[in-house]
C-alpha cells in the first residue's frame, strides 16, 4: 500500500513537475488581462488628474464644459507625454482586436461598410494625445461589434475614424490610443 502511494506520488510529482513547460495558456485571456491592466493604469492616472481638474456639473454655461474638457485633455496629455500608439491596447490585444475587426468587416453589408466612413474627409492623420477633431462626426461603433470587444470604463470609448481604431477619453476628448490600418482602404466615392 505504502509502495503504491509512493509510486503514485512519484508519478504525479513527475507529471506536475513537467506541467509548467507544457500547460496550455489561454492566450486571449492573457491578452485580456494585460489590456485590463493597461486600462486600469490609465484610469488610475486619470483619477489622480481629475482631483486637480474637477468633474463638471450640469451647467447652462457651455464655456465651463468646454474649459473643463480642454483642461482635462491637456492635463492627461501632459502626464502621458511619452505615450505612443499601442501603449494601452498592448501588443497582444492589438492582434486580437485586428482579428475581431477584420471578421466584423467581412460580415458587414456594403451599406454597413460605407457607414463606417461616412461624412469623414480622406487623409485624416491621428495621433495619441491629440484632441479628437471637434469638426469630425463621431462615427457610431456598430452595436454588434461592441458586444465582441472588451468592455471599457464609462470614461473611455472605442471609435473608428477612417482606417483608425481609437480609444478615446470621452470627457477629455482625447485620443488615448490608436490602432492604424484596421479597415481596408476606402473605395467608396464621396
Amino acid at each position: 500500500m505504502v509502495r503504491t502511494l509512493l509510486v503514485l506520488a512519484f508519478t504525479f510529482g513527475s507529471v506536475a513537475g513537467a506541467a509548467p513547460q507544457q500547460a496550455p495558456v489561454n492566450q486571449f485571456a492573457q491578452s485580456m488581462a494585460d489590456f485590463r491592466e493597461r486600462v486600469d493604469a490609465y484610469m488610475k492616472l486619470r483619477g489622480d488628474i481629475t482631483k486637480t481638474v474637477p468633474e463638471v456639473k450640469e451647467t447652462g454655461d457651455p464655456a465651463k464644459i468646454s474649459a473643463r474638457e480642454k483642461a482635462l485633455g491637456q492635463a492627461i496629455a501632459n502626464a502621458r507625454a511619452s505615450a505612443k500608439a499601442g501603449d494601452v491596447f498592448g501588443p497582444e490585444m492589438s492582434v486580437y482586436l485586428k482579428k475581431i475587426l477584420a471578421e466584423d468587416w467581412k460580415s458587414r453589408s456594403p451599406a454597413d461598410r460605407k457607414a463606417l466612413f461616412e461624412e469623414l474627409p480622406p487623409g485624416i492623420n491621428l495621433k495619441v494625445n491629440q484632441a479628437y477633431p471637434t469638426t469630425l462626426p463621431l462615427v457610431s461603433v456598430p452595436a454588434k461589434l461592441l458586444a465582441k470587444l472588451p468592455m471599457l470604463p464609462e470614461e473611455l470609448e472605442y471609435r473608428f475614424v477612417d482606417r483608425y481604431f481609437l480609444l478615446r477619453d470621452r470627457d477629455a476628448n482625447l485620443i488615448v490610443d490608436v490602432l492604424p490600418g484596421v479597415l481596408p482602404q476606402r473605395t467608396v466615392s464621396r
Binding site: A63, T134, E154, D171
Partner: protein
C-alpha cells in the same frame, strides 16, 4: 366644426390595421401659457391642431437641428408659432443638436437663439446625442440629460427612454432592459439618433442597432420610437407592433432621399419640418408641419393593449 383641420379618422381597410375613431373635444387649457407673441412668433399658424384631450402630454419633436442656419431659425419660428395653438410643454431633440464646432458661441447660435422664445416660455428640451454631438453635451443644463448619455424621464403617464445610439454598448443595453422592465407607465416612448427603420437612400435602416434594441422594445412593450439622422421626415408602417418616426429634417434636408417602399407610411423630403405629438389616454395624435407651416402628415395612433399589441393606426396622411 370646432377645429379647422380635425383629424379624419378613416378606417383603413387593410388587414391588421384598424383605426381609432377619435372624437375631437376642446380642451380648457390648464397648461402652461403659450409663449408671448414676438417678432419671431407671428400670427398663429392656421393649420396647427389644438390638443384634443385634457391632461394629455403635449410635446414637440425636432431632429438634426443644430446648424444655426436660416432654415433652423425658420423651422424654430414655426415651432414657436405652433405653441400658441398647441401648447407643448417640452421638446425632444433627436440628436445632432450642435453641428460642427462646439464652442460656447455655437450653443448660443445653434440652440439658444433659435429657440429663445421657447426657453423664455419655460419649455424644456430633452436631448439625445447624435453622431455630430460631443458627449459632453450631457452636462449642458438646457438639454436636461442629467449628465448621462442615456437616461429616462416621465411626463404624465408616459416614460421616455433616451438612448445614445452612437455607442450602444453592453452597459447601456443592460440599463435599458432594467429600466424597461420596471416601467409600468401607460406610454413607453424611446428616442435616439439612428433610425432602426428608414427608407432613406443615404443611410437606410440601422440593422445592427435594431438587432440589439428591438427585441427589448418588443419584449417590454415600447409603443413609439423616434429617431433622426436621416434629413427628412418619415413615418414607418408599424413594425412588430411599434410605431416608428424619423424626424431629422428640422434644419438639414436631403431632398428626394426617401425611396418609398413597404416601410413608408408617409414621407416628406422636400422641405424642413418638425412634429407635434399629443399622448392621450388611449392614443397618440401627431402632426408634422413644414417650415412653411403646412401639414405634411397627421394622424392618430392607437395605444395597443399590453402585452399583445396589434398594429393599429389611423392616419390622415396628406
Amino acid at each position: 366644426m370646432r377645429f379647422p383641420h380635425a383629424f379624419l379618422s378613416v378606417a383603413l381597410a387593410i388587414s391588421g390595421i384598424t383605426c381609432v375613431t377619435a372624437t375631437p373635444a376642446p380642451v380648457a387649457p390648464s397648461r402652461p401659457p403659450a409663449v408671448q407673441q414676438t417678432a419671431s412668433s407671428p400670427a398663429p399658424a392656421s393649420e396647427v391642431l389644438p390638443p384634443r384631450e385634457e391632461d394629455s402630454v403635449l410635446f414637440a419633436i425636432i431632429g438634426d437641428s443644430g446648424t444655426g442656419s436660416r432654415s433652423q431659425f425658420e423651422v424654430a419660428a414655426q415651432l414657436i408659432k405652433s405653441r400658441q395653438i398647441f401648447p407643448f410643454e417640452f421638446v425632444i431633440m433627436l440628436g445632432d443638436n450642435i453641428y460642427g464646432s462646439e464652442r460656447p458661441q455655437d450653443f448660443v447660435n445653434k440652440f439658444e437663439k433659435p429657440y429663445q422664445a421657447l426657453l423664455d416660455g419655460k419649455v424644456s428640451f430633452y436631448a439625445a446625442l447624435g453622431n455630430h454631438d460631443d458627449p459632453t453635451q450631457r452636462f449642458y443644463k438646457p438639454f436636461n440629460m442629467n449628465g448621462e448619455r442615456f437616461y429616462t424621464f416621465t411626463k404624465g403617464d408616459a416614460r421616455f427612454f433616451v438612448l445614445d445610439s452612437n455607442y450602444m454598448d453592453q452597459a447601456q443595453l443592460k440599463w435599458l432592459e432594467e429600466e424597461l422592465s420596471r416601467s409600468n407607465d401607460r406610454w413607453k416612448i424611446a428616442y435616439f439618433h439612428h433610425p432602426l427603420y428608414s427608407s432613406g437612400e443615404k443611410h437606410g435602416s440601422e440593422v445592427d442597432l435594431r438587432e440589439q434594441v428591438e427585441p427589448l422594445f418588443v419584449k417590454y412593450g415600447v409603443d413609439v420610437v423616434f429617431a433622426g439622422h436621416e434629413h427628412f421626415y418619415e413615418r414607418i408602417n408599424p413594425q412588430k407592433g411599434i410605431y416608428y418616426f424619423i424626424q431629422g429634417g428640422s434644419a438639414k434636408l436631403r431632398k428626394g432621399d426617401i425611396r418609398r417602399g413597404p416601410l413608408t407610411a408617409a414621407g416628406f423630403d422636400t422641405d424642413f419640418s418638425f412634429t407635434l405629438a399629443e399622448l392621450g389616454k388611449d392614443s397618440m395624435r401627431f402632426q408634422t408641419l413644414s417650415r412653411a407651416g403646412k401639414t405634411v402628415d397627421s394622424g392618430t395612433l392607437a395605444l395597443a393593449p399590453d402585452p399583445k399589441r396589434p398594429d393599429n393606426a389611423t392616419s390622415a396622411a396628406r
